[in-house]
Symmetry: C2
Subunit: 253 residues, 2 copies
C-alpha cells in the first residue's frame, strides 16, 4: 500500500491499489483487512464511498467501491474489471538469502522483473541462518501494489541446494552465474538455449563453494553464464541476470 504519487503505472488512475486474497468478480463483496483500513483511513485520509483498485494475482484488476471502513475490518464492492490478468513468463528465480534489507530489496526486484516463482536456497556460504517467509511475501506484494503489477510471484519455502537439484525437472534450464563460464558472452550462452521453462540461481555474497560449483556443472540441465569482468553484489547480479533472461527467453521482446 503506497501513496498514489509513488505509482508509475501505465494507468492514469491514481486511486489506492490494494492486494487482496479473495476472488474478484462483478458485484462481489471483498473483505478489507485492518491494515487496508488503516492505510485508507489514516494514511490516505479517505472515507467510505471512495474508489480503490483491487487485484489478487488471478482475476485482473477491479475498480471497487469502499462500502465500510472500520478500525479492524472493512469491505468493498467490485464495480468493473479495469485490467485483464496477465501471465508471468515461466522464469523461476532461485537465490541464497541475504541479510534483511538486501533480501527485502531482492524480493521486490524479482517481482518487478517478472519472475513467476521465488525460491530461496540454502547454500554452504549463505550468511543468514533464518528467513522470514511472510516478510518475503510482503515484499513481493508491496512491489506489486506499487508498480501496478498484476502477476504475483509464488514464494516457496527455503530448501537446501542439494534437495533443489535432486528434485529438479530436467526440462527446466537452470542458469547460474560463474566467472569461469565456458562461453564468455552471456547473450550467446542464453540464445543457444532456445525458448522454454527457465530458472536463474544467484549465489550468496560469498559465492558458491567449489563443491557446489562442481555439482552444478555436472547437471545436464545447468548452464553457466558470466556477467562480465567486474564483481557485483548478489542483489545487483540478480536484476542483471533476470534482465538478460527476460530479454532473450522471457517476455521482453
Amino acid at each position: 500500500m503506497r501513496r498514489p504519487s509513488d505509482n508509475t503505472g501505465p494507468s492514469a488512475d491514481k486511486s489506492p491499489r490494494l492486494y487482496v486474497e479473495a476472488d474478484l468478480r462483478d458485484g462481489g463483496h471483498v473483505a478489507l483487512t485492518a491494515a487496508h483500513c488503516h492505510y485508507l483511513k489514516n494514511v490516505m485520509r479517505l472515507k467510505p464511498g471512495v474508489h480503490v483498485r483491487l487485484f489478487n494475482g488471478r482475476d485482473g484488476e477491479w475498480r471497487a467501491n469502499v462500502s465500510e471502513l472500520g478500525r479492524k475490518a472493512g469491505s468493498a464492492i467490485c464495480v468493473a474489471r479495469t485490467r485483464e490478468q496477465d501471465v508471468l513468463p515461466d522464469v523461476h528465480y532461485l537465490f541464497a538469502p541475504l541479510k534483511q534489507a538486501r533480501l527485502d530489496y531482492m524480493a521486490q526486484k524479482a517481482a518487478e522483473m517478472g519472475a513467476a516463482v521465488l525460491q530461496p536456497v540454502w547454500t554452504q556460504h549463505t550468511a543468514v541462518s533464518k528467513i522470514k517467509h511472510e516478510r518475503l511475501v510482503s515484499n513481493v506484494i508491496e512491489a506489486a501494489e506499487q508498480c501496478n503489477l498484476l502477476g504475483i510471484p509464488a514464494v516457496r519455502e527455503t530448501k537446501p541446494l542439494p534437495s533443489i537439484l535432486a528434485d529438479w525437472d530436467p526440462d527446466r534450464r537452470l542458469i547460474y552465474c560463474d566467472e569461469a563460464a565456458p562461453i564468455a558472452s552471456p547473450l550467446e550462452a542464453l540464445t543457444g538455449l532456445g525458448k522454454g521453462p527457465v530458472a536463474v540461481l544467484i549465489g550468496p555474497e560469498g559465492g558458491f563453494s567449489e563443491g557446489e560449483r562442481a555439482t552444478l556443472r555436472a547437471q545436464s540441465f545447468v548452464t553457466a553464464i558470466s556477467l562480465g569482468p567486474r564483481v557485483m553484489r548478489a542483489d545487483t547480479a540478480a536484476v542483471a541476470a533476470l534482465a538478460l533472461l527476460q530479454a532473450v527467453l522471457g517476455d521482453w521482446s
Copy 2:
C-alpha cells in the same frame, strides 16, 4: 571501507582495501585520512605494520604497508602492484535523482555495473530538488572498495535535460527507456546500433513528461528501448538497462 568478509572479489587477499586519491607507485608514501585510520584502528583493530590494498582508479591496486596510524592521519608505503588498472567500457549513465536511499543504491549499482560516467539530470518530474554531489561520490567509492572494482566512474555535476541534449556529442548514442519504443525487443534495438560510445538515460519515478519524450525522440542520436510489459522502479530499470547495454555493446562478451 568494509569488513573483508563483505568482499566477494576474485582475489583471495582479504586485507582491507582502501580508495586513496594520491598516485600509487613502487615505494611511494601515501597519506591516510582520519577516516582510513579510524577504520583500520577502531573498526578492524589493526596496528601499524599491517598490509592493506590501495587503489585510486588510475594506477591499479597496490599492496601497501601501513607505517603510521594516528588519530587524525596516517601513512602507508606501496610495496607491489597486485592488479593492473582496467579500463571501464565507454558507457555513460544519466539518471534523474531519486530520494536519498534509492539514490545511494543507484550510484552503487552504476559503479558495479561498470558505468564510466555518472551524470545526474534534472527532468520535469524529478521529485527531489537538491542532490549532494559528495554523497554520490562516496557511494561510488564504497561500491568500488567493496566489490574489488579498480575503475571508478566520474561523477558529474547535475544538469537540466535540455542543456544535456544541447551539448550532446552526436557520436555517442543515447538510449532511453520508453514503453512506446518502435522496436519492442530491446536486444534487437541495441544490436542494431553497432559498437561505439553509448549512454543510457533513466527517468524519474514519475516518468518523462510528454514534452521531454517528444524532444528525446526528435534527436538523431537517441534510441528508445522497451524494458518489457511490466512497470519497474527507476533503480531497477537502471540495473536492467545497464545489463543489456553491457551485454550487447559493453564488455560482457
